[in-house]
Chain length 357, copies 2
DNA sequence: CTTAATTTCGTGCACGTGCCCTGTGTCTCT
DNA sequence: AGAGACACAGGGCACGTGCACGAAATTAAG
């Protein structure tokens, strides 16, 4: 025995003392390594349970520092002017990276243009060739995403999906909002604001609407609410794949001509600022405008009362949490029980100051 | 020199190697301890800056384990049936405690009845006698709270205020919502929901209304919105210090008799479930109801559509963050730049599933 | 110049864990 | 009886930091 017999030693030492074995043996039991008889194993496990032993996370990580580096592959849309949104998840990822890089972790970034599927496919290929220890992707294009997921499954590489999900695929977890309920919630807000005899316009602005799962699911949720509580006849839809301002404005003018009793407009993504700009230009401050995401330009319109509600889903936290989940899993083997569904936050001009993305 | 000359040692060792001194000297410089010549100090500081040295938090804490325990005093309302709300901050505090107790930290709890000032005063006295290293309080009664704050100031004990603030007092920081804007936001929601010719009822239910800073400030914010955007004449006020259900219901019935065109009711605290119960009993599902806090009973009414909006201010996170702030300050000397204003979240039947207190 | 006082700096241990090595005793099979 | 497999003991190193103690260098006092 190397230990003093009296005191409240913590951790493995104490277990070893009580079980009258050495630290090494306790260590073997804790890590399920061979070389321990069943009898001893049981005895040690009983003591572990009795003491409710929790390993000292600090010491654990510290000890792990000396081992080899772990490489994470992160696949994200790049940050163009038109998709400023993706800055936020990236910031979250950077933050997580900064926190854990000193513990032997490295993040490799792969970017793609959301409008160009071939680049996405290429980056997926790259990731597979580089053989990372963990993967984090936003599955913008489903077929290639599934290819990557299959690869991860066979290689037993944990993969986290972020921002939108793919049903029925094997993955470590999904971290992001429940998009259906996001649309449903929007409809509920619309309902509260809607006066008698007014109609609602639902606006999709994106280069690829049919391939954009996020938009489609939100719209589905939105429609579901109207079917359930109101009537689909109150809805007027507008889709435009031309995302330039004048094109959007033209379509909106056109439609407003036909439907004069629009009381609320719901935009299914962060492009709501285009509609806000238009609304302001035609001087219609009476129309309620609901859209997505805590972006600088959206907040400006929110302050001025042009945009009334912004729905936000903590993109920064999504990024941060995704990386941390991979980290926890790879380093400590923390098993992930379920998806982490991000809250759907409602932001107005009265509470945006306190929001944290 | 004890170091190998070649490689990428991290941390203090590397600095020591470059400065051609020992780790201990670097250590002294980092912690501003005496015993280092000005020349050496400058040289080391330059290298620290050059390398952008960040201490390894893990190793830091680990090393601190051996030192004496730090005691935190926490002063909270106790959890009675009528104030279930306080369970949440307590849970947050417990969570933080669990995380940091293995690093030599201990939390002492002091509870009081929100209706009995004398107990509060007594507990304040107790805290001062026990001479803690850090203090966390919810300043329900202002005079005694100020007494404690003065004590902390002279003794240089850090003190965090949670849930509501006291203006102009010296303290480490305030962690909680901006209550004025909370009321203001409620009024904004009311405005969106209000139909023509409808009036709004504002309801205060509490034993002590005049002494309850939280209620008063929220009400102020609410009124401010109406003065600014609508008219005070649309408001009907109801105060009751009798918090039993039948008393509240009686007062509500009375008032509804006089004012038949009530379209929205705003309850300034978590007692909103009392109003919800009454609304349901008289079968008025048309009246919009807005109140506070993610409590089980409130959520039940939210699900059933009796309550329409709940404003929530992450009470659990408030507790967690308060303790962690004290911990960071006491253990690492992390200086606290400013108050942490908690977001004001809007919860409806469509997004409550994803809310995290 | 010598000696004491003071300043300046180095060494070694501790924190709890993971993982390696060597040695020793025990049991089983040939 | 000898060989091999197994179950452990015991020690050691590493991770990066904080700190007590002692050694060395410098300065002040005699």
């Amino acid at each position: 025995m190397e230990e003093k017999q009296d005191s409240l030693l913590s951790g493995v030492k104490e277990i070893a003392r009580r079980a009258k074995v050495s630290r090494a043996t306790v260590d073997r039991v804790i890590h399920n390594r061979p070389g321990v008889s069943v009898k001893t194993k049981n005895r040690i496990n009983a003591i572990i349970k009795e003491l409710d032993y929790q390993p000292n996370v600090l010491a654990q990580r510290l000890a792990l520092t000396s081992r080899g580096i772990i490489r994470l592959a992160v696949l994200l849309p790049d940050i163009s002017e038109e998709t400023e949104y993706w800055k936020a998840p990236l910031e979250g990822i950077n933050k997580a990276e900064a926190e854990i890089k000193q513990y032997g972790l490295q993040v490799d970034y792969y970017f793609f243009d959301q409008n160009v599927q071939s680049v996405f496919a290429l980056q997926v290929q790259q990731i597979m060739e580089n053989n990372p220890d963990g993967v984090l992707i936003t599955p913008t294009f489903e077929p290639d995403s599934i290819r990557l997921l299959e690869y991860c499954k066979t290689k037993k590489i944990p993969c986290v999906l972020m921002n939108s999900d793919i049903a029925g695929q094997h993955r470590l977890c999904y971290i992001g909002p429940e998009l259906f309920d996001s649309g449903y919630l929007s409809a509920q807000l619309v309902h509260y604001c809607l006066k008698d005899q007014q109609k609602v316009m639902i606006v999709n602005i994106a280069r690829e609407i049919e391939n954009n799962a996020a938009i489609l699911v939100k719209e589905e949720g939105f429609l579901a609410y109207f079917k359930e509580k109101l009537s689909e006849r109150l809805l007027v839809a507008l889709n435009t794949t031309d995302t330039r301002h004048h094109a959007v404005a033209a379509r909106l003018n056109e439609l407003l001509e036909l439907e004069s009793h629009i009381g609320v407009i719901y935009v299914t993504n962060s492009r709501v600022s285009l509609v806000a700009q238009w609304l302001e230009s035609i001087g219609r401050s009476d129309i309620i405008l609901i859209g997505y995401d805590y972006l600088a330009q959206n907040i400006e319109f929110l302050k001025r009362g042009v945009i009334d509600f912004l729905l936000c889903e903590k993109p920064q936290e999504q990024g941060y949490r995704s990386v941390m989940t991979l980290f926890q899993f790879l380093v400590f083997g923390t098993l992930v029980k379920e998806d982490y569904l991000i809250p759907i936050d409602i932001i107005t001009s009265a509470n945006y100051r306190y929001y944290r993305n």
